[in-house]
């Protein structure tokens, strides 16, 4: 009985192979030769692809319930998160899967850059990868918008305001993002169409091209076994010879590592989804709820922080030029530097570039989490204990310090916002006339209080500040 079943299955298999030939083609592709020493350094691209496929699978599932309408999206997200079986874990996997895709594509790109693998004849591999990076960033942004809570609404506004800074095309682009003159029904619907149909189709095409190129040009050999200098005149013949002599089949000699990493990626994403869960939904997506503190998802937080600290004079140009120059550098890199040495010893600047990028993103992400430039809207009036004075002017000044908003931006004894300097020890830095002048005249980031304080109030406020002792710096 069993042997008859096995025979039947084998017969069907033979018939399918005879009529399609898919098995032999797949085998030939899977067993394409790779250079010796294709080790753990070569798994990042495959890992990125795994993350993308994970996003496709979880995304399709979520789309069966999610309603891309400004009237209902928030309720459908609540339903997915709290009521639908597996909903919470799927949203969590899609959220952490997005993070994985962003991290892995960044790591893959850094690795290719560090090992000089973008050089001849793999320039188009790099450029198609760069296009995939751009598409991934667009996915991350539109995905954040589709989580249509308060942050989703305001990320649409912030993105269109940034687009609007671009000369000539700006307003046009902003209205394209919004799908109209302001945030409204079409904003969400079109972001959904772009996130679910347009960009994924482009990513599939891009991945197809990228993989085709990997098969056509072969993965780069480790720089240590390659020619000292990449010379387009001789490289291809040398590489073919290397594969003929020492090539190993990708499947399974190298592919087993990709399988291990695939399980690690999926396992990590699943574990995070189960333990941490999806990003919680914020307040309802009502543009008339003004009490909002919009923050982007973590992968954009560093840029959000950069926009806070750029000096006012150069910001309008940086906001447009920086992304443009980055794009241009990525585009030109394989075109102007496609030959020469690949080893890191001869390209120390490559290490500097990657280290600087990682450091910048980490540093500003941390800053973005703290957001010291944001007023502390939760500041409470200072307690009598903190004021520690019976002088009526000092007590009145302390009340004014809170009531007039000083405390939103200034710390006294550990309370208050950190937009401006800590004023606990201001008496050691400013004398009486300086204090008065600063309060009345303001500073580059501080409002001027002329006309906002009576002379009595000013005297009380100054008395309060001068009663703070602190310790001299």
């Amino acid at each position: 009985m069993l042997s008859r079943l096995a025979r039947l299955i084998r017969a069907i298999g033979h018939w399918l192979e005879d009529r399609t030939g898919l098995w032999s083609v797949s085998r030939r592709l899977a067993e394409h030769p790779v250079p010796p020493g294709t080790d753990w350094r070569y798994v990042l691209g495959g890992a990125t692809l795994v993350a993308f496929l994970l996003q496709v699978a979880t995304g399709v599932a979520l789309a069966t319930v999610y309603v891309p309408s400004t009237g209902s999206a928030y309720q459908s997200l609540q339903f997915i998160t709290h009521d639908a079986p597996f909903g919470r874990v799927l949203r969590g996997m899609h959220y952490f899967g997005a993070s994985a895709m962003v991290v892995l594509i960044g790591a893959h790109m850094s690795r290719v850059f560090l090992t000089g693998s973008y050089k001849f004849p793999r320039e188009m591999n790099w450029l198609s990868g760069a296009a995939l990076l751009l598409l991934t960033i667009l996915m991350a942004f539109t995905g954040q918008l589709l989580r249509w809570d308060q942050d989703g609404v305001w990320s649409a506004v912030v993105a269109s305001e940034q687009a609007a800074r671009i000369p000539a095309l700006g307003h046009w682009l902003a209205h394209l993002v919004l799908g109209g003159a302001t945030v409204s029904g079409p904003t969400l619907s079109r972001s959904f169409a772009v996130h679910v149909f347009l960009i994924p189709a482009l990513i599939f095409a891009g991945v197809g091209l990228h993989l085709y190129l990997v098969l056509r040009t072969g993965v780069s050999e480790r720089a240590s076994i390659g020619p000292a200098v990449v010379d387009p005149a001789t490289y291809r013949a040398w590489y073919r010879n290397l594969l003929d002599r020492e090539g190993q089949p990708f499947w399974p000699d190298a592919a087993w590592r990709d399988a291990v990493v695939a399980v690690l990626v999926v396992g990590t994403v699943l574990a995070l989804a189960l333990i941490v869960g999806p990003k919680p939904l914020g307040k309802p997506p009502d543009p008339t709820i003004i009490i909002a503190s919009p923050r982007p998802d973590w992968y954009f937080l560093w840029y959000f922080a950069v926009l806070a600290i750029l000096p006012r004079g150069i910001e309008p140009s940086v906001i447009v030029l920086a992304p443009l120059l980055f794009g241009l550098a990525v585009f030109l890199l394989p075109l102007v530097a496609n030959r020469g040495r690949r080893t890191l010893r001869h390209r120390p600047w490559a290490v500097v570039v990657v280290a600087a990028a990682v450091f910048t993103i980490a540093w500003y992400s941390r800053l973005g989490v703290r957001s010291p430039w944001s007023p502390d809207f939760d500041a409470r009036p200072l307690t009598a204990q903190a004021i520690a004075s019976s002088d009526s002017a000092v007590v009145a000044g302390a009340a004014l310090f809170y009531a007039r908003g000083c405390e939103y931006c200034h710390v006294i004894d550990g309370q208050g916002g950190s937009r401006g300097p800590d004023l606990t020890d201001v008496v050691h830095r400013f004398d009486h006339p300086q204090l008065v002048a600063r309060i009345l005249g303001g500073g580059s980031i501080m409002p001027a209080y002329t006309g906002k304080l009576s002379s009595t109030e000013l005297a009380q406020l100054v008395a309060f500040l001068e009663s703070r002792r602190g310790s001299p710096k």
């Binding site: 309408s69 400004t70 009237g71 209902s72 609404v153 305001w154 506004v157 912030v158 269109s160 305001e161 609007a164 800074r165 700006g170 307003h171 046009w172 902003a174 209205h175 394209l176 919004l178 799908g179 109209g180 003159a181 302001t182 945030v183 409204s184 029904g185 079409p186 079109r190 309802p284 997506p285 009502d286 543009p287 008339t288 003004i290 009490i291 909002a292 503190s293 919009p294 959000f304 926009l307 806070a308 006012r312 910001e315 309008p316 430039w373 944001s374 007023p375 809207f377 009531a403 007039r404 908003g405 939103y408 303001g442 500073g443 580059s444 980031i445 501080m446 409002p447 001027a448 906002k452």
Partner: protein, 162 residues
């Protein structure tokens, strides 16, 4: 089969490519037109009543809600937008966009401090909308306001862009 491009083959190649282009255009024009249509649609710039003048107190700034300038029947919560309205005198009103001129985040009116504060990057504006500090490049955008028959009206317009 020869590789030479005979006149007949050349014609057939161009003919086929041309037919393909015609078919692509026939599909592409409505598709792309549909996608870009919002760029052509003008925002609804209409005078919206905010209620009787007496509802607002002189010297106070309050949030008002008005229908969105880009309405769609299914907008749900997105059907309305907010603005800050300040009554300056018996019949003098000024209305500000809630959007910070830096990157569009919603500025909050802090009545005690008589300042607008932005939660995103710490922009500060005076009660008249002028920049008091932080990254904003311009004063808060104003909407036209008028008083008619004892009611305050605000004219809606598109999201102010830098």
């Amino acid at each position: 089969m020869s590789d030479t491009l005979t006149p007949r083959r050349r014609f057939l190649a161009w003919f086929s490519a041309g037919l393909g282009a015609v078919a692509a255009a026939a599909v592409g024009v409505p598709v792309i037109g549909f996608f870009f249509a919002p760029l052509m649609r003008r925002p609804v710039e209409a005078w919206r009543s905010l209620g009787p003048v007496g509802r607002f107190r002189i010297g106070e700034t309050v949030e008002v809600r008005i229908p969105s300038p880009a309405p769609v029947p299914w907008a749900g919560e997105a059907a309305e937008m907010a603005a800050w309205l300040r009554r300056q005198g018996p019949s003098e009103f000024v209305a500000f966009s809630v959007n910070c001129t830096h990157l569009g985040c919603p500025v909050r009116w802090m009545a005690n401090a008589q300042l607008f504060l932005c939660p995103c990057h710490g922009g500060v504006y005076y009660e008249d909308g002028a920049v008091a500090g932080g990254p904003p490049p311009r004063a808060l955008t104003q909407y036209p306001v008028r008083v008619q028959d004892g009611n305050v009206f605000l004219r809606t317009s598109a999201l102010p862009l830098g």
